[in-house]
Subunit: 77 residues, 2 copies
């Protein structure tokens, strides 16, 4: 996942349709539950924008990078 | 679903946690596939923002209101 600015990590994943994008959201959701850390997810037809940061400090911590790496290791289209 | 402006319909649904919000996203996704019309969905911990419009005309058509009504009829927290 490419770094955004100092405040958050953001990446857009593209998919061939809504259903495959939604499947990705569910895979990300499963990782988030395991990690106990949850991204923001913007789902539109054929794409998912993932945004990660630590709300408590309004910035980035190690768990943000761990979550981002695990999401980015998911199968992509 | 409350009307937004003339351009789109938008409503935020709140949930007690990430998982219930994600469950709602999946229910909306199932409706969208049946209707053949797909909203934009912003999922964050405890909330889902639904935005609906018809891209082809960059405005609202009957199918937007049908989709919005079906989503709004889903069980809410």
């Amino acid at each position: 996942m490419a770094g955004g600015n100092e405040h958050h990590l953001a990446k857009t994943y593209t998919w061939p349709d809504f259903k495959t994008a939604l499947d990705f959201v569910n895979q990300v959701g499963a990782i988030a539950e395991v990690e106990g850390h949850h991204p923001d997810l913007f789902l539109a037809w054929g794409k998912v924008e993932v945004t990660i940061w630590t709300h408590k400090i309004d910035g980035l911590t190690e768990s943000d990078f761990v979550l981002a790496a695990k999401i980015d290791a998911l199968p992509q289209y």
